[in-house]
Symmetry: C2
Subunit: 134 residues, 2 copies
DNA sequence: ATAATTGCAAATTTTTTGCAGGTTC
DNA sequence: GAACCTGCAAAAAATTTGCAATTAT
């Protein structure tokens, strides 16, 4: 969990408005969260914050490398703070998403001839531990 | 490229309508294709085929394991025929998607403790060979 | 013959846009 | 003070639904 959303925004050329810090906080706390879920959360504290503002800022923050889209099979995309390379474990029972390091061996084994790789998106779908124990 | 969409449908408990075989053919030929693109293609031959029918069938064919959604950052989802495990090379310049085998070493290196893995979705974003040569 | 499927139009949901007033730096 | 942001309402785009007519098996 990050503390300083103001600095995060400003160091990426975005003005630090209350709306933006609230959205970032919501994303950071949840880990991975959709537009609707952000709206539900954020409107507790800021009832006037509009969905349009969330959409505009989601786009802007992606362009400015503050957040990243996480598209998921069968669901609306979620968003996360930009962070180091990692993969997602997506539980098909409870829907939670966990981050995991991508082991160096995996990165090596994914290298492809004749393709200039920029980023790897790895999502593993299955059943998380707590859902297995039920 | 598959020849027999009728058998494919019937062996998955779906009636073989012209609409469905047309949609499947369009997906198969394109490799990866969005709902809109399917609509554009299919309406050449079947001008009355409606978007509603495409949506209904995309859902149905996913449920019956005939096709698979491919969610992509910053774009509408595409769909592909269900096939053996593979990963996607997504060109950020021209947008094309290529299939590639996932090497066994990569599969091993992706195994995670305490997670019952059902399927791995791997998308590599970068620049394809022909876009590098320009 | 039966149950399922289609196409249309309408409804719903999701996302985008324009602009007046307010805010950040 | 200038440039940028927000919130609203309205528009546009995407997806779903209900139902009468048609089609697959």
């Amino acid at each position: 969990m990050i503390k300083n959303y103001i600095t995060l925004l400003q160091s990426n050329d975005l003005k630090a408005t209350i709306q933006r810090t609230s959205i970032l906080k919501s994303i950071d706390q949840a880990g991975h969260i959709s537009v609707d879920e952000i709206y539900e959360e954020v409107k507790e504290l800021h009832p006037t914050l509009s969905l349009a503002t969330i959409y505009k800022n989601i786009t802007l923050m992606q362009e400015n490398n503050v957040i990243v889209e996480v598209p998921i099979n069968g669901q609306k995309s979620k968003y996360e703070l930009k962070k180091d390379d990692h993969m997602h474990l997506i539980c098909q029972v409870c829907g939670t998403i966990q981050d995991r390091e991508i082991r160096p061996e995996a990165k090596e084994a994914l290298v492809v001839e004749n393709f200039q790789l920029n980023s790897s998106k790895i999502n593993l779908y299955g059943v998380c531990q707590s859902c297995q124990n039920r």
